[in-house]
Structure formats: structure tokens, C-alpha cells
């Protein structure tokens, strides 16, 4: 869905409402306010979670996978029966910035209220106006979230919030430029980059001292985007960063894939150039975090290499699992990425060397992009096909190793077992089992303490035996 199709319900509603009310300050007809709200909702990428695949915008239903189970996104259209149509502005603000729903229950931080806590009152007002008057109501309620014991008690979040939630909205730093402050407001707030890109502690809270030093989005690595020259984006220019967010790639460096491609497709590509520049300025000033494993910039590895030339004319083995890396490359990759991995003339079909896709020591993202491809929801559609149906785990591993060895970081090695795991959605989380064991241990300890105390009491009250 692109900005113009999202405007359609907005414009239709405006057309209806113009005749209904002549009050220029009525949020329902304040076109500028609604437009601003829509822009902010795009920046916040609300649609990414609150829309199911093939579903109506903001009607919820998407199951967001987390280590503690699937959290079902709610309907945030202004439907009074199925959505947030009855929410007051205060209730809307509390949900977005405090993670508390209208009935008082807590939201899980899969809803990034920890980031949206930074959003200013004025922006909340615009968002509220948009969601109440600019979004078409959908009268279907998605199924409720049911997390496994012991995470099905929402009041834990009150404790968790007490420990980890910073409730203060964003205040500008007078020692920094206006652009930096705008960037900080967006990055820490609506565009909520840290929810993926900042590492989390055992209780799944962001480690704010290691801002943007790298995290995860499902099985995908959300890489270090601090200003480190080797591990992060320190070597990138502002123009590189802006291009990446606007187009989904920075020529000669990196392409957005997986959840980041979705973020660009749904949200970042629609932000104004000045906002993207502000984000870039902020990112370039985030304290550098260096991983010693990165001995050179991750987009500096590899070189042009033709692995097929020496065997051109040799027929492919009948058993495709016997194909070498070069043969797999010939069959599936060379067509777009070219015989020497040099990419197309216009760079739009990117080179595979000097590319973060092959330059990381962790090759999980490389495997995932081979399996899933890159597909946008707009007319550009398929940017790269996925090969999950065509290639076995072993073939993907052979191919990925060929790519890292010749075009990327040769210390990145991939096994077929790793591919199998990634294909299934990543390593399973033991958090639920761990929590249950922990509770069992605590319960046992409590039981032991109680028994000991009861026995001690009994010894006190009964006279000493003989």
C-alpha cells in the first residue's frame, strides 16, 4: 500500500465531512491535522503490525511472534465495537505512550510504547485525529492474545514498566542542532529503531547504554547502526543513509531485506527528505560500539570473481545436491548479480562484494534473504526472488559459503543445520520453559521454607522430649 492509496479513505471521509461541518477547528475536517496525523502514523509504521496480510489497514489480526508467544495486534480503526472508536484522546495517549489500554490492562511491549513514550502531546493529538477521522472503520475484531503461563498475567508489565520504562516525552537537547534533535525525536520515538537495533537484557528490556549496537527482529539480525567504522555505519555518508531509507539500498554498500525492507516499504520511504536527513545526522552521532570480530568495515569485503569460467561447458550433475557453489551461483544468482558478482550497470541489481549482505561474520541474514528474497508491497513487487522452494538446506549452505568466501567475509561459515533452523523461523526461545522452571524452583523453595518454618514452630511449641 503506498501513500496515495492510503489517502483515498482520508479523502473520501473529508468529502463526506466537509458538508457535515463548517467548523474549521473541528479535527474531523482539519485537513492539515489529519494529514499530519497520517504522516506521523507512517513514521510510526503502525500499519506494519496492525494490519494482517491481505487484510484491511489497521484492522489488526497479525500475529507478532515474540520469545514468549504470539501477540495478536489489535484493531485500531475507529470502529466502536471492534476497534478504538470509543477511545478518548487521553485513553489513546495512554495506550500509545504508557502501554495501558482503555480497560486499564497493560499492553505487552511488542507494542513499542517504550519508544512512543517520547512522542509529544501535539503529535499525539494529530495521531488521534487521524485514527478517529482519517481511517476507515472495520467491524471485525481479531482474536485475543493468549500467551502461555506464566506470561498471561498482564499486571507483570506494571512491574516491568516500573523497572524499565522512561515515561518522559522527548525534550530537545539545547547543546545540539535542530536537525540532531529532530533526528533524536524520530529515532528514539516514532520510528522506534531501538526496538530492533538495541540489544536486550534477560528481562527483554533494551540496554540503553548500548543504543543501536545490534539486536534482532525475529530470526533476522538487526545490525549495529552506531557510528562505528567497522561494525556500524561510521563509514557511511549522510547521503548513503538517506538513500537506504528512501530507496531500500545504499549503492555499493547494503540493501534492506526482511523486516527492514518492510520498514522502508511501509514507512521510511514516505518520510520527507529533511526528516531522513535528520535521522541520518542523529545516527552518525550515536556513540560507536565496536565488535572486535569486525576487523574491517563490513561493506569492504570481497572482490569481483568469476567462479564459473573454469568450468564453462561442464554439464550440471543430475543430483542437484552435488552442485558446487559455483554451479549453484551459475544456476540461480549470476543472472542478476552477474558472472563476476559485479551487479548490473545501474547498480540496481547490486554487486555481491563490498556488500553488508556478505560481509558480516554472522551470515544468518544472508541465508534468510536467499530463502525469502525481497518483496515490496508496491508495484515494484519482487526485488529479489526467494529460493526456499528451489534449494535444499544443503544447497543454501553450499551457496552461502561460496558467497562469503569469494565475495564477502570468509570467516562466515554456514551449515545446513543452521539453514534448517532459519527456515523454521530461528532458534526456538526457551524463555517460557525457563520462566516455568524458575517458578517451579521458587515454589519449591517457598515450600521448603514453609515446611522448615512449620517444623521449627512445632519444636518451639512442643516441650523438649526427654
Amino acid at each position: 500500500m503506498n501513500a496515495s492509496t492510503r489517502c483515498l479513505p482520508l479523502l473520501a471521509l473529508l468529502g463526506l465531512l466537509v458538508s457535515a461541518s463548517a467548523n474549521a477547528t473541528d479535527p474531523a475536517t482539519d485537513a492539515a491535522l489529519l494529514q499530519r496525523g497520517q504522516y506521523l502514523a507512517t513514521a510510526g509504521d503502525c500499519v506494519a503490525c496492525h494490519t494482517a496480510p491481505g487484510g484491511k489497514p489497521y484492522a489488526g489480526g497479525l500475529a507478532v511472534p515474540t520469545p514468549i508467544g504470539n501477540i495478536i495486534a489489535t484493531n485500531i480503526t475507529p470502529s466502536k465495537t471492534a476497534g478504538i472508536g470509543n477511545y478518548t484522546k487521553q485513553q489513546f495517549s495512554d495506550a500509545v505512550r504508557k502501554g495501558i489500554r482503555a480497560d486499564g490492562k497493560h499492553l505487552y511491549p511488542a507494542m513499542p510504547y517504550t519508544a512512543y513514550a517520547q512522542v509529544t502531546d501535539a503529535d499525539v493529538q494529530a495521531l488521534y485525529a487521524y485514527f478517529m477521522h482519517g481511517v476507515a472503520p472495520v467491524e471485525r475484531k481479531p482474536p485475543p492474545t493468549r500467551l502461555p503461563f506464566p506470561f498471561n498475567f498482564r499486571w507483570y508489565m506494571a512491574v516491568w514498566n516500573g523497572l524499565f520504562l522512561d515515561r518522559k516525552p522527548f525534550t530537545p537537547d539545547p547543546g545540539k542542532s535542530a536537525d540532531w534533535n529532530r533526528g533524536a525525536y524520530l529515532v528514539r520515538g516514532l520510528t522506534h529503531c531501538s526496538t530492533c537495533h538495541t540489544p536486550r537484557n534477560l528481562l527483554m528490556a533494551e540496554e540503553s547504554s548500548r543504543e543501536l549496537a545490534g539486536g534482532a527482529a525475529g530470526p533476522w539480525l538487526a545490525p549495529n547502526i552506531t557510528a562505528d567504522a567497522n561494525s556500524g555505519i561510521g563509514g557511511w555518508s549522510e547521503a548513503d543513509l538517506v538513500a537506504y531509507m528512501k530507496l531500500g539500498h545504499a549503492a555499493g554498500r547494503a540493501q534492506a531485506a526482511g523486516p527492514m525492507a518492510e520498514a522502508v516499504d511501509n514507512s521510511l520511504q514516505y518520510l520527507s527528505t529533511s526528516d531522513l536527513q535528520a535521522i541520518a545526522i542523529y545516527l552518525k552521532a550515536v556513540p560507536a560500539r565496536h565488535d572486535p570480530a569486525d576487523t574491517q568495515p563490513i561493506d569492504s569485503w570481497g572482490a569481483a570473481f568469476d567462479g564459473m569460467a573454469g568450468q564453462r561447458g561442464t554439464a550440471l550433475p543430475d543430483d542437484a545436491n552435488q552442485w558446487s557453489g559455483a554451479q549453484l551461483y551459475d544456476a540461480h544468482c549470476a543472472t542478476c548479480h552477474q558472472a563476476k558478482g559485479e551487479g548490473s550497470f545501474d547498480g540496481g541489481l547490486p554487486p555481491l562484494f563490498h556488500n553488508t549482505a556478505t560481509g558480516r561474520t554472522d551470515a544468518d541474514n544472508l541465508v534468510l534473504v536467499i530463502l525469502e528474497g525481497i518483496r515490496w508491497t508496491d508495484a515494484s513487487g519482487v526485488h529479489m526472488p526467494g529460493f526456499a522452494h528451489e534449494l535444499s538446506d544443503r544447497q543454501v549452505a553450499t551457496l552461502a559459503n561460496y558467497l562469503t568466501q569469494h565475495y564477502g567475509n570468509p570467516s562466515a561459515k554456514i551449515s545446513a543445520e543452521q539453514v534448517k533452523l532459519l527456515r523454521a523461523g530461528g532458534a526456538p526461545s526457551y524463555l517460557v520453559a525457563l520462566a516455568r522452571w524458575a517458578m517451579a524452583v521458587v515454589a519449591l523453595l517457598v515450600l521448603v521454607i514453609v515446611v522448615l518454618w512449620v517444623r521449627r514452630r512445632r519444636r518451639r511449641t512442643s516441650p523438649a522430649q526427654g
Binding site: A309, R312, G313, C336, Q338, A339, K340, S344, F345
Partner: protein, 175 residues
């Protein structure tokens, strides 16, 4: 200089690893052919036959550089298909050396004289420019992307099956 040295070279055995036997292309050429391919004088010539092939290739394709690994592959493929190839290559180089034949005249001269070497330049050209060795049902491919017909236009075209670029990129004027 060339002819008696060629004889002595031909008497030696192939031994590229032995430094005392290391020889350069320059040793196989007369002043005339050396003038055609000055860049190639320092190319290694592990044997008189391989050296002759490299020299002939350089003269025929008219390039300023030839990939040594590719030259080895093509020589091996040609020698497999035509058993007389190594001897013919030496003979043709000797002919060009001796008579100062311009590459553009070469085929005409060989055809006019009904020389048994007449098919040789075409074989060598097909190997380098089309990546094909042998003919008829026995023809087989030994190069495609690195075949010189692709290399010589690589700034403008990608070889068929390789993507030109993102959708619509072919609408622009070719540079």
C-alpha cells in the same frame, strides 16, 4: 634470431616449473611479430607449442592483454580436438614470422595457397571470441562470459541471459 632458437626450444620438453627452462614469448618471435604484440613479449611460454598458441592468439584477436589461465584452457581444449594442433600452431607462427603476413591478409593468403593451415586461424578465433572449440556435432563450449565477443562489448552489453539492469534501464541512450 627466431628460427634456430625455435628449433632449440622445440627440442626441450615442457617444464614450466623449472626456472632454468623458463622462456618468454619474445624468444619465439621475429622483429615483425614482436612489433604486432609488443605487450606480450614478457608472457611466459612454458613450451614452444603453448608459446606459439599464445603468440598467435595475441596476433589474431588483436587485444592488448590475454588471460593466461584462459589461454591454457583454450590450448588444452584445442589440442584435444585437433591432435595436430600444437604442431600446426608452431608452423603457422613460423609462417607469419618468416613472411611478415598482416593479420588482415592472413586468411586470404592461406586460402589462396590452399595451405593445410587454412582452418587454423578460424579455430583459434572461434575459441577466443566465441568460446567454442570443435565443429559440427563435436563442437563444445569452453567459454561464454569470458569469450572475447562478450568482453569486447562489456561496457555496453551483458551477454544474453544476464540482466541488463532494473526495469526500464534499457531506455536510456547507450553510452
Amino acid at each position: 634470431m627466431a628460427l634456430d632458437q625455435l628449433d632449440s626450444v622445440s627440442a626441450s620438453r615442457d617444464d614450466p616449473s623449472n626456472p632454468s627452462r623458463r622462456r618468454l614469448l619474445a624468444g619465439l618471435l621475429t622483429a615483425y611479430t614482436a612489433s604486432l604484440i609488443p605487450w606480450a613479449l614478457a608472457q611466459p611460454a612454458p613450451s614452444a607449442e603453448r608459446g606459439a598458441f599464445t603468440a598467435l592468439s595475441a596476433i589474431l584477436v588483436g587485444r592488448q592483454a590475454l588471460d593466461a589461465a584462459q589461454a591454457t584452457r583454450l590450448y588444452d581444449a584445442l589440442a584435444t580436438v585437433h591432435p595436430r594442433f600444437p604442431a600446426d600452431a608452431r608452423a603457422l607462427l613460423a609462417l607469419i614470422n618468416e613472411r611478415h603476413i598482416d593479420p588482415l591478409q592472413l586468411q586470404g593468403v592461406l586460402d589462396d595457397e590452399q595451405s593445410p593451415l587454412a582452418p587454423l586461424p578460424r579455430s583459434i578465433m572461434r575459441a577466443w571470441t566465441l568460446g567454442v572449440v570443435g565443429s559440427g556435432a563435436d563442437a563444445h563450449c569452453v567459454a561464454y562470459e569470458t569469450a572475447l565477443d562478450a568482453v569486447m562489448v562489456a561496457d555496453v552489453l551483458k551477454p544474453p541471459t544476464y540482466a541488463y539492469g532494473t526495469y526500464g534501464s534499457w531506455s536510456s541512450k547507450p553510452v
